[in-house]
């Protein structure tokens, strides 16, 4: 049976409230797609972090700029795009928040969390010239959605107390 991709998109203002709005919208899509509670948390957190990144780093909190959020539901995964109107950035230039010298940094963990919580994650140059975050989560197979659903490839805690 052929499956069609469902596509949703919204244009967000560069304001703090857009972070919650984007999270809520994507959570509804994730729940409707059958993701369990833990995966919904990870997807919601990743969307938050993507929009925070666009709001703060990409658009420099400038209200004249927009944030573009899109969600694609394909036959096997949920794909989220977050595009800003900044100047873009390279993942290689993002400091490692787990490095000893960065542990007490007050910022710079958003990209790390998205990579940890999603199955696929990349940053490309968007049509606006800004950064476009593209991240995806594999859809749960029927009957597998549970409150203890698995996270992304890096979601396992890396240390114990």
């Amino acid at each position: 049976m052929a499956s069609e991709t469902k596509h949703l998109e919204m244009t967000l203002e560069t304001i703090v409230e857009s972070v919650n709005l984007a999270e809520e919208m994507c959570l509804r899509v994730a729940e409707a797609a059958g993701f369990g509670e833990d995966d919904c948390y990870r997807i919601g957190m990743s969307v938050r972090e993507g929009v925070i990144n666009a709001f703060h780093y990409g658009n420099q909190e400038r209200p004249d700029k927009k944030i573009y959020l899109a969600v694609d539901l394909t036959a096997d995964k949920m794909i989220i795009h977050v595009l800003d109107e900044g100047v873009g950035f390279k993942l290689a230039d993002v400091p490692d928040p787990l490095a000893e010298e960065n542990l007490l940094s007050t910022s710079g963990r958003g990209i790390f969390l998205m990579r940890a919580f999603m199955d696929e994650f990349e940053v490309v140059s968007g049509r606006t010239g800004g950064a476009e975050i593209v991240m995806s989560k594999k859809l749960p197979t029927p009957g597998s959605a549970s409150p203890n659903g698995q996270g992304g490839r890096n979601a396992t805690p890396q240390q114990e107390a």
């Binding site: 703090v16 409230e17 972070v19 948390y41 957190m45 938050r48 972090e49 925070i52 928040p97 787990l98 542990l103 007490l104 940094s105 007050t106 910022s107 963990r109 958003g110 790390f112 969390l113 940890a116 890096n154 979601a155 805690p157 890396q158 240390q159 114990e160 107390a161």
Partner: protein, 114 residues
């Protein structure tokens, strides 16, 4: 759910009871204001009770770290109590779990300041 914060004294230790989400915006701002206010009142031994905080984003993590550093810079201490599973997992994957002193019992946590 927005963040709520109340504090109470336990000897020289101030226990801050937080509930809600510590996220970008009002939540992070309230946490910053609460810690800075305590430092201005010379309350430098701070125990954050996170029992009712089930969500922290990167902004909230940054504010926890900022508060920790501010308190340490004034020769005080900031410790954490009653982490929910999600918050504990978040501190573990960001390697902050070993930066903060974390407790599951309030009495033990308060005594640890002496």
């Amino acid at each position: 759910m927005s963040l709520h914060a109340t504090h109470r004294d336990a000897g020289k230790v101030t226990v801050v009871d937080l509930s809600g989400r510590i996220v970008l915006g009002d939540g992070s701002a309230l946490l910053r204001k609460t810690i800075r206010g305590l430092l201005e009142d010379q309350r430098k031994m701070i125990l954050l009770n996170l029992a009712d905080v089930d969500y922290i984003d990167s902004s909230g993590i940054g504010e926890l770290v900022s508060g920790f550093t501010a308190v340490k810079n004034q020769s005080g201490d900031l410790k954490l109590l009653h982490l929910t599973k999600k918050v504990k997992d978040l501190l573990q994957i960001t390697k902050l779990y070993t930066v903060f002193d974390v407790f599951t019992d309030e009495g033990t946590a308060i005594r640890s300041f002496s």
